[in-house]
């Protein structure tokens, strides 16, 4: 039985079929999307990144443009681990996730007592400082050239094939695991307390919530998740470069989140898919055309569709149900 409470997602009232749909679609893509698996993996990676930002920004209200730091940190950690320690992907993934989580916890402890523009600036500053260091430390990071990695067999059994099919399933499995965790967190008392902190920190303090500690906790989890996304990216493309740490990644993550809808975990699926597809298609027309479309979409979403595109889906689903009910009556 699902716990009662204000639905944090309208999906709470939804039948399991709707829940299964995105996953079934993703699986179907595996079988039918020949030639496009690397694009699909890219989408999955970005879904994970967007999910991580939803936890920190959508639920806890931590306005950050610094998530690229965690994405890149995870990517480089995974690559370096595979190059110097052990090239089995799952091990590297776990290591990258944990280490990035610790990094996120430490930076979070430093900055999360601030809010608003100051916090935004601090997240940016950390991200830029890290990117700057990575640029200079080319002995470790490969600098402008980046790092090429060869990965071992997943769990010692599955080789990453040249068409990216195994990579796709690998990414899908990782996404599924994190999704389950995110789902639980969001519905849990912990998740609700974060929602409360976002709405009214004074009220939460007045009920005895250790606000700073809660924020650090979710920031660490969110950072770890973004780190996993970065690690996936490095492992499946077998390359990591400075672009993973670039501010633009943070901005793109925010865009994907808003397009799909904040506080709507499935919104990440929609937002990431739209972004990657638009970017892929539009970039072929004109390298800057996608910026125009994405920027315009972002503005339109904020102006008219506060719930993002998930809201459109909601409306569609409601109409669909009404139609269905009427035709049965």
């Amino acid at each position: 039985m699902k716990p009662l409470g204000t639905p944090t997602l309208a999906d709470d009232r939804v039948s399991p079929l709707w829940h299964a749909m995105p996953w079934l679609l993703a699986l179907a893509f595996y079988f039918m999307g020949a030639g496009y698996h690397s694009l699909g993996t890219n989408i999955l990676v970005y879904i994970l990144l967007t999910l991580s930002l939803d936890l920190a920004l959508g639920y806890a209200g931590i306005i950050t443009l610094g998530h690229a730091a965690f994405f890149g940190f995870g990517a480089y950690t995974a690559a370096l681990f595979a190059l110097h320690v052990y090239s089995e992907p799952v091990t590297g993934l776990i290591v990258a996730t944990v280490v990035t989580g610790i990094f996120a916890a430490l930076t979070g402890m430093l900055i999360l007592h601030t809010q608003g523009v100051t916090l935004l600036m601090l997240t940016l500053a950390i991200s830029i400082l890290l990117a700057e260091w990575a640029n200079r430390a080319h002995g470790i990071t490969g600098g402008e050239d980046g790092l090429r990695v060869t990965m071992g067999y997943v769990l010692g059994l599955f080789r990453f094939d040249l068409w990216g099919r195994v990579a796709y399933l690998y990414a899908l499995a990782v996404l599924f695991v994190w999704f389950l965790a995110a789902w639980s967190i969001v519905h849990s008392p912990f998740g609700r307390s974060l929602d409360g902190i976002r709405q009214n920190p004074a009220r939460m303090r007045a009920v005895g919530t250790p606000v700073w500690w809660r924020l650090v906790a979710i920031y660490a989890i969110s950072g770890a998740m973004a780190g996993t996304a970065g690690a996936l990216s490095a492992q499946t493309t077998r390359f990591v470069g400075l672009n993973t740490l670039h501010v633009l990644i943070s901005g793109i993550a925010v865009v994907m989140l808003v397009l799909g809808g904040t506080k709507r975990l499935y919104g990440a699926f929609i937002g990431a898919t739209i972004y990657v597809v638009v970017q892929d298609v539009a970039a072929k027309v004109n390298p800057f055309y996608w910026m125009f479309v994405i920027g315009g979409l972002l503005m339109a979403t904020v102006m008219f569709l506060e719930g993002g595109l998930m809201e459109v889906l909601d409306i569609a689903r409601r109409r669909f149900r009404q139609l269905f009910a009427r035709s049965r009556a």
Binding site: Q115, G116, V117, M121, I128, L129, R136, M291
Partner: protein
């Protein structure tokens, strides 16, 4: 010694340009409490308009005036159409909307002008080198410092000495109280926003020498502009002046003296300053 003077002058010139562009942002963010990541776009707009006019043959100072006015008008238009609905929607919505504006501006300008730097040549009588005793130095940079200082003094008088300034300061300190005593806060917002954008345009035009005009301008300089606001304190004229000059000096000094660690120095300093003073050096009275 010589290097020190050059660093000082270059840093001052850079700082002045940053100040002229950012002061509008500081005041609007302090007054209207709207986060505006697209402020650089108005500076850019002024710059591009002036550049196009100068290339078409208009004299520099005429283009300067037209460009400034254009930036101000664009600001007024944006305030009415985009920013008004945003006031009540909260910080996140403002960050996102203005971020989207930056993207659209970059894409639009690339479409019309391409990715290269748009040159804005300064008039001959301002160009050239001037003998400052032990070496020669670009006259234009001295011009920038002079303009910046004059503008700072003028704005200071405006804000501290005039009725408009008094109303502005009242509305920044306590908008509710200001309304209660009959100040038309909405009109104040619009006028100030237009003024801030016009100033940004002005800064974008005369500063094109030090902040080159190209489509990524608004994104590239977003961080310095926001840093000035955050470090100086929202709504603080004094804060934005001090922060801008300090930033200009430190950044220039860093690039000259320790180029390998200059970015670390800059952002490290920003980081520490913001941790120690989250509300800025001169926090708004109604902050926190």
């Amino acid at each position: 010694m010589q290097t020190a003077v050059v660093i000082l002058l270059d840093g001052l010139a850079y700082g002045m340009v940053l100040f002229i562009i950012s002061v509008g942002l500081t005041v609007t963010m302090g007054l209207m409490r709207v986060v505006n990541l697209a402020h650089g776009a108005f500076a850019m707009a002024g710059g591009y308009v002036a550049a196009v006019l100068v290339a078409a043959g208009m004299p520099f100072f005429a283009a300067l005036v037209v460009g400034t006015v254009a930036a101000g008008l664009l600001g007024g238009l944006s305030e009415i159409t985009i920013f008004r609905p945003l006031y009540r929607k909260g910080e996140l919505a403002q960050v996102l909307m203005t971020f989207g504006m930056v993207f659209v501006t970059i894409a639009g300008l690339t479409f019309f002008f391409g990715t290269d730097i748009k040159r804005l040549p300064v008039p001959d009588y301002l160009g050239g080198l001037v003998d400052i005793g032990f070496r020669t130095y670009p006259a234009y940079r001295l011009f920038l410092i002079a303009v910046g200082a004059l503008l700072a003094i003028g704005l200071w008088y405006l804000i501290e000495g005039s009725l408009y300034g008094a109303r502005l300061r009242a509305a920044v300190d306590n908008p509710r109280m200001a309304r209660a005593v009959g100040i038309d806060v909405n009109r104040l917002f619009t006028i100030t926003f237009v003024g801030g954008c016009a100033l940004a345009g002005f800064g974008g035009i005369i500063g094109a020498d030090m902040l080159p005009l190209e489509p990524f301008y608004a994104l590239r300089y977003l961080v310095p502009f926001l840093v000035i606001v955050a470090v100086g304190g929202h709504g603080s004229f004094k804060g934005s002046f001090v922060a801008a000059i300090t930033l200009g000096l430190i950044d220039t000094a860093g690039k000259f003296l320790v180029p390998s660690i200059a970015p670390y120095l800059f952002f490290g300093l920003v980081f520490v300053l913001l941790l120690l003073r989250p509300h800025g050096l001169w926090p708004a009275k109604s902050a926190g």
